[in-house]
Symmetry: C2
Subunit: 781 residues, 2 copies
């Protein structure tokens, strides 16, 4: 190893600190070529200084190891609210100017860099998608380490450094992420180097990990499976020396682990660096008599009154000049050679790595023809299949065909087999680096199915994997996917922002398969019943969000193929794992899914040649079955009634076109649902969602929706729909109640339906099973 | 200590195992008085056997220490999907029969206990609210330890045992909960005894913590601040002996910690028990040639074909008889004296502790007269206050007045001060048991403000505290409260179910203060902007959920008082922390909040004596300000227009009465909003929520809603409303566009508004601040 030039490291660090502080405060006089005056100061002082010097330090030192070792690297900045730091690093390594040519690497560009920060119309204060080299928004805390692991999977040559703030370390998701060490394969995956940055404080409090004895912290990190390296100090020169050595040690160790991995037994102990430096280091020591450096008071803007308070202005000028900017930038404002001594070139730069703009690396997924997997459907409703099992074969094909490329993973909280996706295990194992026993099944060090009982980790790993350009699917219990509500919020925001950045290449979509859904919780009950994730995501940016409710196996295949091929979306697919009637052949399924919603002529009795008396709408597998059963009852009991069945796969089609790109124009909606006939709509989830989507339609006044209304418990499948008034008998009663003139004419039929519900209640109390006529029901031909 | 009767422990455990298996399988012949026949078997076999023997073991052994030591105890059953176990324990200790007299502690009652389990109309398969002694639903995993700590806070004599499954231990929230050791005060709080149950498997996989070396696990637990005790084995007699000793050691240690606490320096190392026993222990060893005991295959129902497969039936009979039921129950099916040798009496029983029916212990909160805190309002809109700061004084009063009783806590992720609730620190500190430094502020071992950067822990602690009968408030960033979406789902389900159980006493409500809201994220931006938590909770049971959007300081006081006095609700209060105009005096605020929605006569120009031309609705502080500013513009520019202003505090008032108990009848809605006039509604959150709530109203066709539509970034407050078309100028344009006849007459006014928006864009680009006319705006008098 060449001798480390500590003064070059320090010059880069001082330059970055200068640029970070400058972004927070200055709108003019960027190089301090004249004395600082109030009019050089921004009118609104916004941003987070406290974490910035630490982030700058890491940027500085990562530059060195990248350059010296030719190491391919990516950094996930957990404390990404320290946007000024990462922006400074990117400006210094030239990647910022490469991405945004008007922010030149000179005095004029520096001025614009300062001005734009947290300025309306400028750049956000956090490490957002706008920041080159970033895959991780610095807003909500908790997911940095999971993202880092996701980025490292199947990138064997990549080093993913991950700065974890001691605030973030208190979150549950981060605390759980440490156990990712049991899932990282040293042969096929890259290395993750966590850098736990203990600057001691959050917004207004000390942090837990900074205030426990070092022996306890050491035990904790060893308990997570790591070998810790410590760097502690506030003397820059010593910290530079110690951090450089620690990084060299860590990289040497990683190198050894990787070299020994092909023949090694057991799980390696990966290094972790604990970096203890003061919060707001090198900033004002005290302000108005209160200590600021090394306290929580440095979290945001340490000097708040700079425009009005001459003492604050003086302190700011002293602070900025303490970095000796004249030594760091030449007269044109360009960083000096010493500052850039360790800056890598080209795509090796942290701000320019293609892994952080993953779409650049994305290859289309090999998906075999759906014909290989589709179930034959001669007549609708005569055969039964478990839709997710059929999908499992499709996914197994993708897994097989990516065996060499390794760019597809399936994640889930221990439910792959239970969700009928077990076919995957013919072609890959479950990732597992811990101890195994002879009774274990499918565990494999190089497995590409990831199972851990943590939705947060599943989501975080997959996000990291997708953001670096690879493909995947998350299969989850429908109810518990709410655990990641807030994570998917952030991912959708990331995608929305990224789509507007021409330099960001589209990345594979985040695909959810929500199964074990609300209507089939026989083993569990009320706690496992919640179909509200669809409502949650439909609040988000319509350009990103897609929701599909395929009613059978072939429609699930068609929807899944579309989702796996798509880019920059969040696709939510809700599909059951229990045996379900096959309604559509593959060709019919493809057409139906392409349309997203359509009339099922074969099911209705309006025969297309006259207007229907009533429209029965449905979305979701269980509601579709109940609607078809209701249609059969109507045919039998009210043969004159013209009934139209409309099935909706792509739920956003119900929205107005101005509100969602998939929204159908009014004339199409009217053609499907009519403008004036009663529509009884059986929906998989909360019924008011359908009203929310369709309230602008002409026929909305005639729309009556049935769905889940929190009437849940441990019971049979049919009892669940009865409890929620979504059953066939209730739907027939709804038709009779709403079609003008039927109330009297069909009073006897209505009574018969009510009687059937009564019979159900009596039967289930006695037998604990569903009525035989329901259990054995099939579509009549 | 008396000598431990291992045979009595074993008898109780065998009895509990017998009862657990019986619940899963039997609908008749409960005591096996005749050979087992298919018709004795339930038609649907549902439930979780795998975890049950371990839970039974813990129940058995906790009984002993409770009885021998007279120890007040509560147990949180993390693997609560093992409902059969906890039901068995409760039936054995008599608390089940006390709660449900028809389930007698004899053969007939045992038969009914078996029959009802997971049977439609019976009891759920999980440890749900129906289970005596429980405060923790066993559905979604991750929150047991946080609940246990919440129960222990301010219960100095209580032992809270907490069984943590090794599946649950993989979740992020559980992983983060271990650090609760830094927040438990040995003087004022009870003890938490975690029992980490490593049975090795989840649904279909081994667990992480069961497959790491014991030295690593030991380091991990020590790193969390614990002193571990290990019990490992599959020989019942040895495990009984070792677990009894471990529990005695743990209780002795806890006793010493408590005794030394008043004078001790530093943080104690609390015991934790690691219990390694086989999954599905004592169940079938193999089924159809596959190993079952001690593998994941025992997770649910180990023998699935009992009704049809004679070999399975024989195996089941052997299994059940292996517990030797004739030794455990007398001829009438009553547990023998040996089985009950260690069973405690009365409220000491785990199934009968009042702490698990916390409402029994609840005392009304002392709340000082609001007059002590209200801001004087001579005229609306002349003074400014930070509403949450005013609320802070009220909360500080509650904190002061509960200093002796210690039954009120405020939790939040490091934002109490930032949310302007700092007045609390005059009367209590921030709970903190770790190291302190001279620069720290407000940290105190006995503090009742709880701050940790984990929404999961805040929520879990508070839930545990409320479920055991105490009071509290959770203040959170509005956007990040989505982190606990899934937790609040479960709590709402718990409350809904509990309300229907006459024996469960109402508990204090879960109160959220959502501040740092979407419209004021100056320091942060898009990642911090999400008002969707209201949408989320409004999907849930209307009998539980209440949502309030007080528009100013006095209305916030009134709403908060109501929430703090209420029971069995989840109250969501959305209120800003930034200076906000005072609109209503305290008396007016009380009246307005009691009504939940009302006409602000002083703001409108219809003067009550004629029908309005337009209604301007508003809900939320920022929308209210924009609506009032729009009203002022309309007065100035269109003085003839009759404008009515309706402010909504209680958002559920917009719903039909049949859908929410607060829903207003149609005639009242029509009286406020008219049936036929245009209504422009400015809402705090996603606009379609208002449509969802109001779609059944006669006037819905005329309702036009403005709100947040994901157009967020780091910018000024006024630019945020402009970007989302919620600003005063846009609202005036909306009025002109929608009131018949105005389009032409008011074209010049409309242009002036459009010009103002253009002026805004230009100004902010140049100055980075809001237009002076906006920044200095006040309500005209």
């Amino acid at each position: 190893m060449p001798r480390i030039q500590l003064s070059a490291l320090d010059a880069h660090w001082r330059a970055a600190n200068y640029l970070a502080a400058g972004q927070i405060y200055l709108m003019d006089n960027p190089l301090l070529t004249e004395p600082l005056r109030p009019e050089h100061i921004k009118p609104r002082l916004l941003g987070h200084w406290g974490t910035s010097p630490g982030l700058n330090l890491v940027y500085t030192h990562l530059n060195r190891i990248i350059k010296e070792r030719g190491q391919e690297a990516l950094c996930v900045w957990g404390p990404g609210h320290g946007g000024p730091a990462v922006l400074a690093g990117s400006w210094l390594d030239g990647s910022y100017t490469q991405t945004y040519p008007d922010i030149t690497r000179d005095a004029a560009g520096m001025g614009r860099l300062f001005q734009q920060f947290s300025f309306p119309g400028g750049v956000p204060s956090h490490v957002a998608p706008e920041v080159p080299g970033s895959i991780h928004e610095g807003g909500e805390l908790g997911y940095s380490l999971a993202h880092a692991y996701g980025a490292a999977f199947d990138n064997p040559d990549l080093l993913v450094a991950c700065v974890i703030g001691d605030g973030e370390a208190e979150t549950g998701p981060l605390a759980g992420s440490w156990h990712s060490t049991k899932f990282l394969d040293p042969v096929h995956d890259g290395a993750v180097l966590p850098i736990l940055h203990l600057n001691g404080y959050k917004i207004a409090n000390p942090t837990v990990l900074s205030r426990i004895p070092e022996a306890e912290l050491d035990a904790l990190l060893k308990g997570y499976g790591h070998d810790p390296l410590y760097v502690t100090g506030s003397d820059p020169r010593r910290v530079h020396r110690d951090l450089a050595h620690a990084l060299d040690q860590a990289l040497d160790r990683i190198g050894r682990i990787k070299a020994e991995a092909p023949t090694a037994k057991g799980r390696p102990r990966w290094p972790v660096i604990v970096l203890r430096t003061p919060k707001g280091w090198t900033g004002p020591k005290t302000v108005d008599g209160d200590p600021v450096e090394d306290t929580w008071r440095s979290h945001q803007v340490p000097l708040a009154g700079v425009r009005d308070n001459p003492e604050h202005l003086r302190q700011l000028e002293d602070w900025l000049r303490s970095y000796r900017p004249q030594e760091l930038f030449d007269a044109e404002g360009r960083p000096t050679g010493q500052v850039l001594a360790y800056t890598p070139e080209g795509p090796e730069r942290l701000g320019a790595t293609p892994h952080a703009n993953g779409g650049l690396l994305t290859r289309s997924l090999p998906i075999r023809p759906l014909e290989d997997f589709a179930v034959p459907v001669e007549k609708p409703g005569t055969t039964l299949h478990e839709p997710t099992r059929v999908l499992g074969d499709l996914l197994a094909g993708v897994m097989a065909d990516t065996a060499g490329r390794r760019d597809f993973r399936v994640v889930g909280p221990d439910e792959t087999e239970s969700n009928r996706l077990g076919a995957l295990f013919a072609h890959t194992g479950k990732a597992w680096q811990a101890r195994t026993l002879p009774t274990d099944q499918y565990l494999a060090r190089d497995g590409r199915v990831m199972e851990i009982l943590s939705e947060h980790l599943c989501q975080g790993w997959l996000e990291g994997y997708l953001l670096t350009g690879r493909h995947g699917l998350f299969s989850s219990y429908e109810a518990f996917v709410h655990i990641v509500d807030s994570m998917v919020n952030q991912h959708i925001k990331w995608l929305k922002t990224s789509r507007a950045l021409p330099w960001r290449a589209p990345i594979p979509s985040l695909n959810y398969l929500l199964t074990s859904h609300v209507w089939r919780q026989d083993h569990n009950g009320f706690s496992h019943q919640d179909p509200g994730f669809v409502d949650h995501v439909l609040n988000k940016s319509p350009e990103v969000v897609r929701v599909y409710l395929p009613p059978d196996a072939n429609t699930l295949l068609s929807v899944a193929e579309h989702a796996l091929r798509s880019r920059d979306y969040v696709n939510v697919i809700v599909a059951g794992k229990q045996p379900c009637f096959d309604w559509l052949s593959l060709d019919e399924a493809r057409l139906h899914c392409a349309r997203g919603a359509g009339i099922w002529d074969w099911a209705g009795s309006d025969n297309g040649d006259r207007a229907p008396d009533v429209v029965l709408g449905c979305a979701g597998d269980v509601p579709t079955q109940e609607v078809l059963a209701a249609t059969a009852l109507l045919r039998e009991h009210l043969p004159d009634l013209a009934v139209r069945v409309v099935n909706v796969v792509d739920i956003a089609r119900l929205m107005p076109r101005e509100e969602h790109p998939h929204g159908m124009p009014d004339h199409e909606y009217d053609a499907l649902f009519t403008r004036d006939k009663p529509v009884i709509f059986a929906y998989h989830g909360y019924p008011w969602l359908i009203h929310r989507l369709a309230y602008r339609r002409a026929g909305h006044a005639h729309l009556h929706v049935r769905g889940y209304k929190e009437s849940g418990t441990t019971t049979t499948p049919f009892d669940m729909v009865v409890r929620n008034d979504l059953d066939r008998y209730r739907l027939v009663m709804d038709v009779i109640d709403r079609v003008p003139g039927l109330a009297v004419r069909a009073a006897a039929v209505r009574q018969r339906m009510a009687d059937a519900r009564t019979r159900h209640h009596a039967w289930i109390r006695e037998h604990g099973t569903d009525l035989p006529e329901v259990a054995s029901w099939a579509w009549p031909h």
